[in-house]
Amino acid sequence: MDAFLHQVLAGLATGGIYASLALALVMIYQATHLVNFAQGEMAMFSTYIAWSLINAGMPYWPAFLLTVAISFLLGVIIERVVIRPVENAPVLGVVTVFIALLVILNSVTGWIYTYTIKSFPSPFPKEMALGRFMSPHELGAIGVTLLVLAALYAFFRFTPLGLAMRAAAQNPVSSRLVGIRVGWMLALGWGLAAAVGAVAGMMVAPIVYLDPNMMGGILLYAFAAALVGGIDSPMGAVIGGFVVGVLENVLGAFVIGNELKLSVALVLIIGVLLVKPSGFFGKVHVSRV
């Protein structure tokens, strides 16, 4: 029973990270109907930026905040410069550009930082007495994740800018008619998604260690989470993230062994796409002929 509880709690911790990344994916999907295949690498790149800042002597939390700010800017720039020209191109072209982004970020990171695995610090003191159920970092990660999600929710729900972004994602034409600069809303969305991804990266790095390929599997779980929750539902993405995290851990520990964990994501993805493509919280889309 102890072991099971531990797996569930650890699953919630990693689930929070999947939830954050899934939320970033959903934010971009809602606004553009595109899946950002490069979301994981963007998060990874941000984490390396944080590593550089910390290595240069900056204390953790200022480095954390600065990284989030830089990531936000990078997200905006990527949308305006790389994605904007192909927003309306045929699907293969868009997918190719996203994959290209993935590949460039991965290789540039490897180029600058080499492929040797590095350790990334956790800001949560190791001596916090939580006993056998959860490490301080796992609890801290859940806390940070929930904080970020709450902040995002408040932003979208209660601020005029958040409202404008929601409007631009749902109905770009009408948004223009009330004076919203839809292009910039898209860029802002990318910026926020990048910032959220950065937080996810910095929370997961202490667990899986920093290396240019660290986000590959995690991205897959985030995809699974986003699909399970509904690719156009932010709340679904968050719930999906926690569900996937717990499932992964529990199945990995007790059913199929840790080696096949990625296959869980694969099966989940294909399964959801076949059985309930709109996810549990998403909207069913009927396309007119």
């Binding site: 409202l163 749902q170 919203i180």
Partner: protein, 235 residues
């Protein structure tokens, strides 16, 4: 003149819909744009907001606006109530209204304006926290007009505001439009298939056929015009 268009051409892709139109809207007036289906009425309104590709000159409030982006034209004070209403279906009524005021600089005037809009359309106040997609057709029309009002516009462009509304509601809506013009001095251009009601409301009118203006004058003059009477007024 709040708006002047000279030699306006517009179209979709390869198809040209408007062929060199000249027209103007007087400040504080209500101008009707009449014509059969497919004549180009909606395209005219869209071209004023840069929602279609145009050639020719358009001046708003003394300023040339052809080539400007839709959102920038809107920010100058042009509110377009599109055909289909353009409601943000997944947002609440109140959120829809507040979005109308999104681009305004005078943030302090937004709350009183919201009150004023609820004054014109009390039913919207009742529905303010409801999801806009659940409102009836008539209520969504009121919402669309209100959202345009929240912009504090100088010019309102209304595309078929009577569409799908019961005659009683149309009468109510048009009398409110008259009210708005009186109290707020907003100029309007109205595209309508219901020519009778439009000519009752408007001061001036244009008649379009296949993308060209074929008749223009005061609403009264058009009401008495024989061909208009026979083709559009039914008597």
């Amino acid at each position: 003149m709040i708006l002047e268009a000279r030699n306006l051409h517009a179209g979709y892709g390869q198809t040209r819909v408007l062929h060199g139109m000249d027209f103007a809207i007087e400040k504080g007036s209500i101008t009707a744009l009449l014509g059969a289906n497919g004549a180009g009425k909606t395209t005219t309104l869209r071209s004023l907001c840069a929602m279609v590709r145009t050639q020719g000159e358009i001046s708003f409030d003394g300023r040339r606006i052809e080539g400007m982006a839709t959102e920038d034209i809107v920010r100058l004070g042009v509110a377009h109530v599109p055909d289909g209403r353009g409601t943000f279906l997944n947002l609440t009524t109140e959120e829809n209204l507040r979005l109308g005021a999104y681009s305004r600089r005078d943030r302090r005037a937004v709350e009183p304006d919201l009150e004023r809009v609820f004054g014109y359309f009390p039913r919207l106040r009742e529905r303010r926290t409801q999801q806009a997609g659940t409102l009836s057709g008539g209520e969504q029309q009121m919402l669309a007009v209100s959202r345009a009002l929240m912009l504090a516009p100088k010019l309102m462009l209304l595309d078929e505001p009577s569409f799908g509304l019961a005659p009683l509601l149309v009468r109510e809506l048009f009398s409110i439009l008259r009210d708005i013009r009186e109290r707020e001095g907003v100029s309007m251009m109205l595209v309508e298939q219901n020519a009778a009601m439009a000519l009752d409301l408007a001061d001036h009118a244009y008649l379009i056929e296949t993308g060209r203006i074929v008749l223009s004058g005061t609403a009264d003059a058009l009401k008495k015009n024989d061909s208009v009477r026979k083709a559009y007024l039914g008597y």
